[in-house]
């Protein structure tokens, strides 16, 4: 048996260990990027474009430069030339072109943050403004098909004859669904502290991957990777927006070049996070389902439209979940993009699955209604024996168990099949269900080093990230079990490029990939040195390849249920209960896992009811670019969230038997809420978010000719 194979015997794994970094965080001694001690730092404030498209014709920095404390004013005229400008999002200040409103056009470095910010407000820029186009509309004639979509998936797929199957189907659903533009809004803003010493760059960065930052920033500045040092021990959330470098880190590194030896501190303001830190594209999804009278799907068709920026393509993989979720012999999926004068879209928690499963799972609810079937039963009837797209068996697939357990927990038997038939104290009450799914991605390329110390202690090093998710704790539990020692004897070191390479915390793959490398390293140490290695003995392991990924389709599944209460007269909607049951393999730490899933479902609730970035087409910008107007769910909006998981043993995914849990919690929540709202009111809301006025619509109006029964 090689070191990557064979299961780790769980001892610490599976126990609800308190966060090892918890004390440091609640006492405020955990240092985030901005708080790193760096001598006498100076401060950077960005200058942003005030037009959505055009060219800079003049940029007057005189008043800014005259502000006491100002050390430098950066513009495209004096900014360092980058060695590599192929990534236009990162080619900061390399030309006079403005591609979207809010794009960086300059920056001010000063001895205080106040002086920098004030001086930045004095920079006067004039533009040759060109007409802009910033609002996604699906009826444009210039939509285009990208070469592939995010994650490297095919843009379009087709199996069988969808049109013929739809034409002959006994029951069809043909509807269009939309999801809103959402912004990630982690608590901690995007932050960089940059310092140049002897031609090398050190970045204290709030990031989902220190090695990812190193590998992407180094070529911009013509450096070798080992000339860029990235440090990020603690991160206050990212949700994907810190998963790839955006413009801020480049601007900070440029600014630091002007003051060698001094650290430049740069944190985005909350409003700036709505322009230069990524976001979830709005989507428009045309879904057609065909089924027999018993609800068995014969055809699935999803045509997804989303937006990208003119300078850099990002193609949300909205329709990929529809390729594998349910059995149907005939299916097609397409992705089309509108290229707009907008900031660059990027990852936000479960890109693809999150918006895609909203539309697909509401469509399934509509199909259940059209067939007169219980929506849980409809999903069970459409369970595929193997992955419908590849024909491979699932390494484990326990959606049905999740549906049944969730139904039990929410009291599904009390659900009235007919909408708008349960009233309690002036409220219409309904229950809804949706399925969740998230792929198990195998990310190669991580290494870990295990070093034996005195007294049976071990130091485990890997350049992994903890976004607040619990890596510090869960990875220590894995290392302890791989070494067969108590957790107390493991010292974990992560969040620094001084440690071995680690893949980015993305695609819910972190613990899977890093844990596999740690296990490999621990086993190698044991193979070489036995159970009592000498002080200083060291072994390195890699994530390596998992041949099982070629043989099996690997996914985590879940079922989400919602109870929704709607004020019959005002349309005010409350969600007193959410139930989520997940099948995600071995759960490393039930305590931090529960937090991840509760957090994902809360974010899904927020997506369902609140989150919407309103683009003002005249200005070409998000109008509600702050947390006063961009609503996320408040404490008072969140009722009881019941999270559980079923025992699932998956021998194929990795040595821990674990699947990622960072993203699946948000997948399906919004659909469960929308479906429950329909069960409560009879109003089918197909456009997120579900606001008061939408629920006052004509009950049943949405169930017109688009659902056909023969």
């Amino acid at each position: 048996m090689t070191a990557t194979q064979g299961r780790v015997r769980p001892r610490a794994i599976g126990t609800p260990l308190d966060r090892l970094d918890g004390r440091a965080k609640v006492t405020g001694s955990a240092r985030y990027a901005y708080e790193q001690p760096v001598g006498e730092p100076v401060y950077l404030h960005a200058v942003q474009a005030t037009v959505a498209r055009g060219r800079i014709t003049g940029i007057d920095t005189e008043a800014a430069a005259a502000v006491p404390g100002v050390l430098a004013v950066l513009t495209h005229r004096n900014a360092p030339r980058l060695a590599d400008t192929r990534d236009a999002e990162l080619a900061v200040l390399q030309s006079d072109a403005v591609a979207f409103r809010g794009q960086f056009v300059g920056g001010v470095v000063a001895t205080t943050s106040e002086a920098a910010r004030y001086a930045a407000s004095l920079v006067r820029t004039t533009y040759d403004t060109q007409p802009h186009d910033s609002v996604l509309r699906p009826d444009r004639d210039d939509l285009y098909a990208p070469e592939s979509v995010n994650g490297g998936f095919a843009t379009d797929t087709e199996q069988g004859d969808v049109e013929a199957a739809l034409a002959s189907a006994a029951v069809t659903v043909d509807q269009t669904y939309t999801t809103a533009m959402n912004h990630n809004n982690p608590m901690e803003p995007h932050t960089t502290v940059a310092v140049w010493n002897d031609g090398e760059l050190t970045l204290y960065e709030s990031t989902q991957g220190v090695h990812m930052v190193r590998s992407q920033v180094a070529p911009l500045f013509g450096l070798q990777p080992d000339e860029v040092h990235v440090v990020s021990p603690f991160v206050g959330g990212g949700f994907g927006s810190k998963g790839t470098p955006h413009a801020p880190v480049v601007l900070a590194a440029m600014a630091a070049r002007l003051v060698p030896g001094r650290a430049v501190r740069f944190a985005l303001t909350r409003p700036q996070m709505f322009f230069v830190a990524g976001y979830r594209t709005p989507t428009v999804q045309h879904i057609r389902l065909g089924a027999d009278r018993g609800g068995r799907l014969t055809a699935i068709s999803v045509d997804a439209v989303s937006q990208t920026s003119r300078i850099k393509e990002f193609a949300e993989q909205t329709a990929v979940a529809a390729r594998m979720m349910y059995a149907a012999p005939h299916r097609r999926t397409t992705h089309r993009l509108a290229r707009l004068d907008v900031p660059v879209p990027s990852w936000m928690r479960a890109p693809g699955e999150c918006p895609g499963m909203f539309a697909a799972e509401v469509a399934m609810d509509e199909l259940a209604e059209a067939c007169g079937l219980d929506p849980v039963e409809l999903r069970i009837r459409n369970e595929p024996a193997t992955d419908p797209e590849t024909g491979r068996p699932f390494s484990s697939r326990n959606l049905v168990a999740c549906l049944r357990e969730g139904a039990r927990r929410i009291g599904w038997e009390r659900r009235e099949q007919a909408p708008r038939s349960r009233r309690e104290a002036g409220h219409l009450v309904g229950l809804g269900v949706a399925a969740s799914v998230y792929p198990v991605f195998w990310m190669p390329g991580s290494s870990a080093t295990v070093r034996a110390g005195a007294g049976g202690r071990y130091t485990v090093s890997i350049g992994a990230a903890d976004l607040g998710t619990g890596t510090w704790t869960a990875l220590a539990q894995i290392a302890a079990d791989a070494l067969e020692v108590p957790v107390e004897r493991v010292e974990l070191r992560i969040g620094d490029t001084a440690f071995p390479p680690a893949s980015v915390a993305g695609g819910s793959s972190g613990i899977t990939a890093w844990g596999s490398a740690v296990v490999h390293a621990a086993r190698r140490l044991r193979e070489t040195y036995g159970n009592a290695p000498p002080d200083g003995a060291e072994a390195t392991g890699e994530t390596g390849d998992n041949p099982a990924t070629e043989r099996f389709a690997m996914y985590a599944f879940g079922a989400q249920f919602a109870e929704v209460r709607v004020d019959e007269e005002t349309g005010e909607v409350r969600v007193p209960r959410l139930v989520g049951v997940f099948a995600a393999g071995c759960v490393i730490n039930p305590k931090t896992a529960r937090s991840q899933l509760v957090g994902g479902m809360t974010m899904g609730l927020s997506m369902a009811l609140h989150e919407e970035s309103h683009v003002d087409g005249r200005l070409g910008q998000v109008a509600n670019h702050d947390l006063a107007e961009y609503h996320i769910a408040a404490n008072a909006d969140v009722g009881d969230i019941d999270v559980s998981w079923i025992d699932e043993d998956d021998p194929h995914v990795n040595p821990m038997g674990s699947k990622g849990i960072g993203e699946i919690g948000i997948v399906g929540t919004a659909a469960a809420v929308a479906n429950a709202a329909h069960n409560a009111t009879g109003v089918r809301v197909r456009d997120l978010p579900i606001t008061l006025d939408k629920l006052l619509g004509d009950p049943g109006a949405g169930n017109g000719p688009a659902v056909r029964r023969r």
Partner: protein, 295 residues
């Protein structure tokens, strides 16, 4: 920006006289937001937090003199009998932290149509005590709101207190928001029954350029109740009367479409809230009448 920190009320008035454009700040729940957003950058901020008497109230025979800076959390805890409508409205302000900081003086100074206190103040009735080095005056609440975020204060005046009529009957407040806390109202409605004068007063928030009363609705309801002898009989308000009242409240509004809601939705919701709060207050009145006749 100069930051003025008067130690006494007299010093505050003197500072406002000297710097009429100075922006008073107490809880800061409106002013700090505007400064953060760069919506305003006043030459002078006038900090009223050292002036203890602004955080006190006095209860007289018929009125409560409520200091401008008494925080909402203390109104909720201490004045629910005297000022039930305002106490209910205070419950819906933002979050516990903000309710500990903000007070009615700030709502009045900002005079936003969305201020949560306004419908209750209009419905309960009262007057704003404005003072300057020139002297003190009472501005009836009905005359206080003069335009979008404008009020009847002279540039040298500060709000010392509000004089609010102690409730002589039930009062209610209702608000619709797009989330359950920390939210600017889509629209809000306050109602107060005044059995002593056999009148009903109302207040509408977030549905017109200023907070307003629905006077036609009030007059209709008073006449209908008088005619039917309801104040004496305590009989239920006939549904047709309640509906007409609700329709008149809807009609009094002059709302706009914005990201929080459409004008149509606001009119609809106001009608619902008017009918509901009338029902609640009238039931409270009847319960009270019943308990009196039993005693």
């Amino acid at each position: 920006m100069e930051f003025l920190r008067p130690a006494t009320w007299q010093e505050a008035l003197a500072a406002k006289a000297e710097h009429p454009t100075a922006v008073p700040i107490a809880g800061g729940t409106d002013v700090m937001v505007e400064i953060n957003f760069d919506h305003r950058r006043p030459d002078h901020l006038l900090d009223l937090n050292r002036i203890a008497e602004l955080e006190e109230w006095e209860t007289g025979e018929d009125t409560v003199r409520l200091g401008a800076s008494v925080p909402y959390s203390r109104i909720m805890a201490g004045l629910r009998t005297e000022l039930p409508g305002l106490a209910l409205a205070s419950h819906t302000v933002a979050s516990p932290q903000i309710r500990n900081r903000g007070g009615v003086g700030g709502n009045l100074g900002t005079a936003s149509p969305a201020g949560d206190a306004h419908p209750a103040l209009l419905a309960g009735g009262g007057a704003v005590e404005a003072e300057s080095v020139r002297g003190s005056r009472l501005i009836p609440i009905d005359d206080f709101y003069t335009g979008v975020k404008r009020n009847a204060l002279a540039p040298d005046e500060l709000i010392r207190a509000v004089h609010l009529k102690k409730a002589t009957g039930p009062q209610q407040f209702s608000k619709v928001g797009t989330r359950n806390a920390m939210v600017i109202a889509v629209c809000a409605f306050g109602i107060a029954l005044h059995p002593d004068t056999r009148t009903v007063r109302t207040g509408i928030g977030s549905a017109a350029p200023t907070p307003i009363r629905a006077k036609a609705a009030e007059e209709f309801l008073a006449a209908a109740m008088d005619e039917a002898g309801l104040w004496d009989s305590g009989k239920p308000v006939p549904p047709a009367v309640a509906k007409q009242f609700a329709d008149l409240v809807s009609g009094a509004a002059n709302p706009i479409d914005d990201v929080r809601g459409t004008a149509t939705y606001r009119r609809h919701a106001l009608g619902v809230m008017a009918r509901r709060t009338l029902g609640w207050t009238w039931q409270q009145y009847r319960d009270h009448q019943g308990s009196k006749s039993c005693a």
